[in-house]
Symmetry: C2
Subunit: 365 residues, 2 copies
């Protein structure tokens, strides 16, 4: 297959590239939200549902693929976290434990901590890729980095459409050079973890109004906009700026079929845009979510916490217990910067709403 040719044909048509009806991708939110019901509902409504497989075991992933195939005949995609090296700094781990201990005592957290290793992460990543190939998944996206040339070649042999993630022009170019078929451009507005993999987090916080056209002028693969887009206005704005489609997270996170905790959904529905902040405290990696007690308390220590994913593991039981106790104070309430636009709908109702909005917009200077 002539990849270059395919790229040219689909440059202005995400629906053709992904075999979907509308250029709307449900963001692969790892850790619970992307239930089989949500993924299937989005794909059935003409968008692209995606599994956020980042924290899954290969068995869980295979099981979910089976489940979704019972619910839809349409394509859906899978997102993987590209493993990056990290070191377990004993001093940092000790300091983080000291910091978290009073919270654990307050919440009566029962902790059976097993720290991950880079080698284990690499093994799981390879197993996920094997599942994707064996299950003949047609679309795979990546966050936190770009897979190796060997992996890219292998996936291309199976004609799997590959989608990267970038937060700067340079990262977008790296994705194009690595052979990605399209790239998600994550603006500073985006909720959850920053996809930045090439340099400082803070310096890569570029708003979509700036980022989309600057990327569009430089790369020739299709560009998918992500960050703060919740309705037809955002989709059409992204298209004006040079994107050929959008990826929406928070909008789908609050949907009925989403597996996000009800407390999380309700907190977003009630929130305002000025209460959405950046923090490294939950995972060791910069992410955007609603301000709460845990973020406030850990703020002074953000820069001395253990690396991702170690800190993520250290706070896991705290987050889980907080949710189980019905309080949001210590949960990671990921959200983009547009919580006021969040609506309690089914995924199908949301898709219909945003498609109608987008189709009714005919902007003039």
């Amino acid at each position: 297959m002539d990849i270059k040719g395919v790229e040219k044909v689909w440059k202005n048509d995400l629906t053709g590239l992904l075999n979907i009806n509308y250029p709307i991708i449900q963001a692969p939110m790892a850790g619970g939200p992307t239930t089989s019901e949500l993924v299937a509902a989005v794909s059935n409504a003409g968008g692209l549902g995606m599994i956020g497989a980042g924290y899954m075991s290969p068995e869980q992933l295979r099981h979910q693929i089976d489940e979704i195939r019972k619910l839809t005949d349409h394509p859906f995609g899978i997102n993987l976290f590209v493993p990056t090296e990290y070191t377990a700094d004993a001093g940092k781990l000790q300091a983080a434990n000291t910091l978290l201990q009073p919270i654990k005592e307050e919440l009566q957290v029962e902790d059976e901590l097993v720290l991950p290793t880079f080698e284990q992460d690499l093994k799981t990543f390879q197993e996920h890729l094997n599942v994707i190939i064996e299950e003949e998944i047609s679309i795979c996206s990546f966050t936190f980095g770009i897979p190796s040339p060997r992996i890219v070649s292998k996936l291309k042999e199976y004609s799997i459409v590959l989608i990267g993630t970038a937060t700067t022009v340079e990262e977008a170019v790296m994705n194009e050079n690595a052979g990605m078929d399209a790239v998600v451009i994550q603006g500073s507005e985006a909720g959850g973890h920053r996809g930045t993999f090439n340099g400082q987090d803070r310096e890569s916080l570029i708003g979509l109004m700036s980022l989309i056209p600057q990327v569009a002028d430089v790369i020739s693969i299709p560009l998918i906009a992500a960050g703060g887009i919740m309705d037809g206005r955002g989709i059409m704005a992204a298209k004006c700026l040079g994107a050929i489609g959008v990826q929406m997270g928070t909008a789908f996170l609050v949907c009925e079929e989403s597996g996000a905790n009800t407390l999380h959904k309700e907190a977003i529905i009630k929130a305002s845009e000025d209460k959405v902040v950046l923090t490294k405290a939950f995972s060791g990696k910069m992410a955007r979510g609603l301000h709460n007690r845990f973020i406030e308390m850990t703020k002074p220590y953000e820069e001395v916490l253990p690396d991702y994913p170690l800190q993520n593991e250290l706070t896991k039981a705290i987050r889980k217990t907080s949710a189980a106790k019905g309080t949001t104070g210590h949960m990671s309430l990921w959200s983009g910067q547009s919580p006021r636009l969040a609506k309690k709908l089914t995924a199908c109702e949301l898709m219909n709403k945003i498609i109608n909005e987008a189709e009714s917009l005919h902007p003039k200077l």
Copy 2:
């Protein structure tokens, strides 16, 4: 005059409200860029030129109004900084002087420091307002706050169109409630000083993709988008999101007629989006510009610097000397997040380019 009625009529038409041909405002960049030639060229090309009067004396302002009137018959506007209280903390001033001393020695800066006072700022603000009334200026915008009800009433008596600045939904609502006829919504992408006046700087860094629709859903006065918009793509995107016009700074700052230092213009033309950072170091107030030595050096001390405008005065001679010596290391190189889109053009060429681009865009889902 029935203000409410006027607001309703112009809700979807910035050109009618301001008596201009295209909904494009040249941002009132205080401190040099807004020469009479730039302001007149933008107004002559069908946009709205604006004087950034923030750092001017009343005599300078009156002189520039005379100059511009010789160059154009079209309307132009004036922007004022609303004075806010501050205290001269002796300890902070001492610490800042100690920090800046080695730089002054390196650059051989000759300093004749006279610190401003809030009372003096208030007096100048009132004198500026008198000039605006006496010179029959038809459009006046405000940054860093909202003028008092007494001032708003007074300006409305003279049918002056009043435009506020907001960085959050709450600030936009405050502007509407105070009787502003329109509001500039400053996204996190914007260059120069943050207009935030109601709370923390960092928490008000909301990208336009999120901020415009969330404001548009809540207020009923016209919304003007500002931040990272440099061409027709940005204008049409802002319109999709719910703005009725745009205010563009960096795009006009690099124009031939702009009074910005040539080194500043060239630095923007060569820059990339990931080199644009936030700093309080130049003025004591958060602002966005190109990263340089001065920002790097002062970074650890940002939170303990004297308040705006004291720190602005303390660094004034350093910035001036750096520019005079032809080095950008200690200049405030304000820029939005889209430097890659900057073009060396005349203001008229830029206006024609962006109007053509905007008119040729017909986005479809």
